[in-house]
């Protein structure tokens, strides 16, 4: 069960950083191909982001799925807004939408 304290702490995290990636593992040592792909997209675009390794906290690992009503990890948040998982980030990157989106949000991206 996910308690309100966990959801509150997630809200606090996604609202205190412009770009937050919930992932399995870390950008340096990703432990899942999908998480790895999203973190590499962000790195490639030169976007500064805060990452949260859900494997280190079972409450966050389950809580983040409730928070966004999204069943899988990774999950990307920009300015507190849930953007999507691996498929959506990949598609937005390939179509150039992701760059346009970061520009619109005033986040530096190449």
């Amino acid at each position: 069960m996910t308690d309100t304290a966990t959801l509150e702490s997630i809200r606090n995290t996604v609202e205190s950083h412009d770009v937050v990636l919930y992932m399995k593992g870390t950008p340096l040592f990703p432990q899942c191909g999908f998480s790895s792909l999203v973190s590499r997209v962000l790195q490639h675009m030169g976007v500064e982001y805060h990452s949260v390794n859900v494997l280190e906290d079972m409450d966050v690992r389950e809580g983040i799925k409730v928070y966004s009503d999204w069943p899988t990890i990774p999950q990307l948040y920009v300015k507190g807004e849930f953007i999507g998982g691996c498929d959506i980030v990949k598609e937005m990157y390939e179509t150039g939408e992701l760059k346009a989106f970061f520009d619109e949000k005033g986040i530096e991206a190449a």
Binding site: F34, K65, D69, W70, P71, T72, F82, I83, G84, G85, C86, D87, I88, E91, M92
Partner: protein, 76 residues
């Protein structure tokens, strides 16, 4: 337990009856799939909402017995 491709397609069609659903078994292991779902129900919805409609159709299986499902959603 992995899921059969037909079961995935059936669950999606149950929730989105007018959808065209294609399932590919990416690794041939019954565990890594790609679903392409084309439905008029997606019209005007952002991608996150489109994918949520499909995830909701799969319920708790997604992220559980269904480990990896790459998802592409389109309108007809």
């Amino acid at each position: 337990m992995p899921m059969a491709a037909d079961d995935i397609a059936r669950l999606i069609r149950d929730a989105l009856p007018d959808a065209h659903v294609e399932i590919e078994d990416l690794a041939g292991d019954g565990d890594h799939y790609r679903a392409t779902v084309i439905s008029p129900a997606f019209a005007g919805l952002p991608r996150v909402k489109q994918h949520q409609l499909v995830y909701n159709a799969l319920g708790t299986r997604m992220g559980g017995e269904l480990h990896a499902l790459a998802l592409i959603t389109r309108t007809p």
